[in-house]
């Protein structure tokens, strides 16, 4: 499987495209002199250098754009590149089959696993069928039903998180969006089988957390995970979506920030220029992380596993704890 051809790029990648078009025109020359060949080698190095430089210095807002890139690998891509087999299990046995969350058995090397993943779709038709990766309550219920079965048969769970957020709509409220997200966190915290969560693109608030409580939480380097979308935050606090860039900076939601806060245990490095440039290599790195984590977690007895999972989330938060309110000695109970 080939990575899709590069689509329209970002403005901040313009220097890359300029070099690449120069390179292409040289490569199209029929008779290449030694000087041209040398220039080609030089330009190739330059392209790599410029990509590296741009991606080393992505702003939070640019990171969001990369996380949303239309060619970024989605759950379906990982299902074919990381796993040997995928047996989809549909339906929440209650209301319907939400296409924004895919569930099913999958083989990962020698391991049997249950994969739960947000899917955003790629074509317009796919994207509308799954509401652009925004799940309804039936999606979260389906995920929980499959996770319960995984627990029963001692199959570890792998959650791939990639959603702008849980769907905001009339039907979603009527069918208990708040209730299902709460219940998923509640049950995942005590599910007696290993759970590994990886944020592969967008970690959109409660919609992400609804399949986000696990023994390990990892994140791809240029994904983001936030309490609110930068546009939503800008709309509320700056009273205009035009301030999304400022909000993106203020919210501190990049993989670097989240490691510092102890919210993610591991950052999976992306290939040069982001996951959308090389699906294969990205998938390999995700696979290595999953295999390693599974090996570790499967060695832990179930009771100890859920105690450790509890402690993992219990630690999160930052506050001051002095003896008297307003004054006295301050203990910064920072996590991480």
């Amino acid at each position: 499987m080939e990575a899709p051809a590069p689509g329209p790029g970002f403005e901040f990648e313009q220097p890359i495209f300029d070099l690449q078009s120069k390179l292409r025109s040289l490569e199209q020359l029929e008779d290449k002199t030694e000087a041209v060949k040398q220039e080609i080698r030089h330009l190739k190095r330059e392209v790599a250098r410029v990509i590296q430089e741009i991606y080393d210095n992505l702003s939070p807002w640019q990171t969001v754009q990369v996380a949303r890139h239309k060619n970024r690998p989605h759950t379906v891509d990982y299902l074919s590149l990381v796993f040997d087999e995928f047996v989809e299990l549909h339906g929440d046995k209650l209301f319907g089959d939400d296409r924004a969350i895919l569930c099913g058995f999958a083989k990962l090397g020698q391991y049997k696993t249950m994969v739960i993943g947000h899917e955003k779709g790629r074509t317009y038709k796919e994207r509308t069928a799954c509401y652009f990766g925004c799940a309804h309550p039936e999606g979260y219920r389906k995920a929980m039903a499959k996770m319960r079965m995984a627990e029963k048969f001692q199959v570890p769970v792998i959650c791939l998180i990639d959603t702008p957020g849980a769907y905001p709509g009339i039907g979603a409220e009527e069918r208990g969006q708040a209730q299902v997200i709460a219940e998923n966190m509640y049950e995942m915290s005590r599910l007696k089988t290993p759970i590994i969560c990886v944020v592969i693109g967008e970690g959109g608030s409660g919609g992400a957390l609804g399949i986000g409580v696990g023994d390990r939480v990892a994140m791809l380097q240029y994904s983001y995970y936030s309490v609110i979308s930068p546009e939503g935050c800008a709309g509320i606090l700056w009273k205009s979506h035009a301030y999304a860039e400022q909000a993106a900076t203020a919210l501190r939601f990049t993989s670097k920030d989240l490691s510092r806060f102890g919210v993610v245990d591991h950052v999976i490095q992306e290939p040069l220029g982001g996951a959308h440039r090389d699906h294969h290599q990205t998938a390999q790195r995700v696979k290595m992380y999953l295999m390693k984590s599974l090996r570790e977690l499967l060695a832990v007895p179930a009771d100890k596993l859920i105690d450790q999972r509890y402690d993992r989330f219990r630690r999160l938060g930052q506050f001051l704890e002095g003896d008297q309110p307003g004054a006295g000695s301050e203990t910064d109970r920072a996590s991480a």
Partner: protein
């Protein structure tokens, strides 16, 4: 120290009821636990008044009052979060949006917590999450019934970023442990209970009560309207709407809340 200010029914003898637009006499509303005498609209109740209404006189002992919010992100929009925090503390006399402790309800000892919607819209940041988690852990250890009254229009507090989101998981995990230990959790939803608060502890009660006509939901009505671009049905995301759709057990008038809680504790008691 900050001075305690009376909040809720605004100053002055008369005020307009948002439910029926009638001008009502403040003293009359207060005598009726801040409920409109004409249309039963339930006004906002500050933390101290809520405790007085629900717990036996003088039995409430606050826990973890010394926890104070900080500014983990160095968050700044048009104003710095740290300055907004100070303003809210000054204005409400609270250090953060949750108040927790133990007390008696009709002589039954309980662990009691609440979020006060006056402080940062009752939103949950690290202090709210930590106070509630400690309360739940205390209820688990001491085998106490747990009562949490939610009033949170703000959901997870965005000024504390991802750490606010993680409080949802932290509090829910503590409730799961409490549940596994056989604890009784009565969740009381008041106006408003939205977003990350609705999508965590508020929805996880063994029994869920709601005051009448409260706004309760996941996504804010404005967000939904902007997404689907049609008018929202009348009564959408109210207590009555949630009852009809099967997500709450009972709508309870404020005057009955204390006795209904006591009765439920008795049914679930050993």
């Amino acid at each position: 120290m900050t001075k305690r200010q009376k909040r809720g029914v605004p100053e002055g003898l008369w005020e307009r009821c948002p439910g029926c637009q009638t001008s009502i006499y403040r003293k009359e509303a207060e005598r009726r636990l801040n409920v409109c005498p004409h249309c039963e609209y339930h006004f906002y109740v500050p933390a101290a008044d809520r405790i007085r209404q629900l717990l036996d006189e003088g039995t409430f002992e606050e826990c973890d009052a010394h926890l104070r919010p900080t500014d983990p992100l160095g968050f700044k929009d048009r104003k710095a979060y740290i300055d907004k925090l100070h303003d809210e503390q000054e204005r409400t006399g609270l250090l953060d949006a949750a108040m927790t402790g133990t007390g008696m309800i009709r002589a039954r000892r309980v662990a009691f917590g609440m979020t006060d919607s006056a402080f940062f819209m009752g939103s949950m940041g690290s202090v709210v999450g930590e106070r509630l988690t400690r309360l739940i852990e205390r209820a688990t250890q001491q085998k106490l019934p747990l009562i949490i009254v939610s009033g949170s229009g703000g959901g997870a507090r965005m000024h504390e970023g991802i750490l606010s989101l993680m409080q949802m998981a932290k509090v829910s995990a503590a409730l799961a442990r409490f549940d596994s230990a056989g604890g009784l959790f009565i969740s009381v939803l008041t106006n408003p209970t939205m977003g990350g608060v609705a999508a965590s502890f508020a929805s996880l009660g063994d029994v869920v009560f709601a005051e009448p006509k409260a706004l309760i939901g996941f996504a804010g009505p404005r967000t939904i309207k902007a997404t689907i671009k049609i008018e929202l049905p009348k009564g959408f995301q109210t207590s009555e709407f949630l009852l009809e759709h099967g997500f709450i057990d009972r709508i309870v008038h404020r005057e009955k809340l204390k006795s209904e809680i006591a009765r439920t504790i008795d049914y679930c008691g050993k």
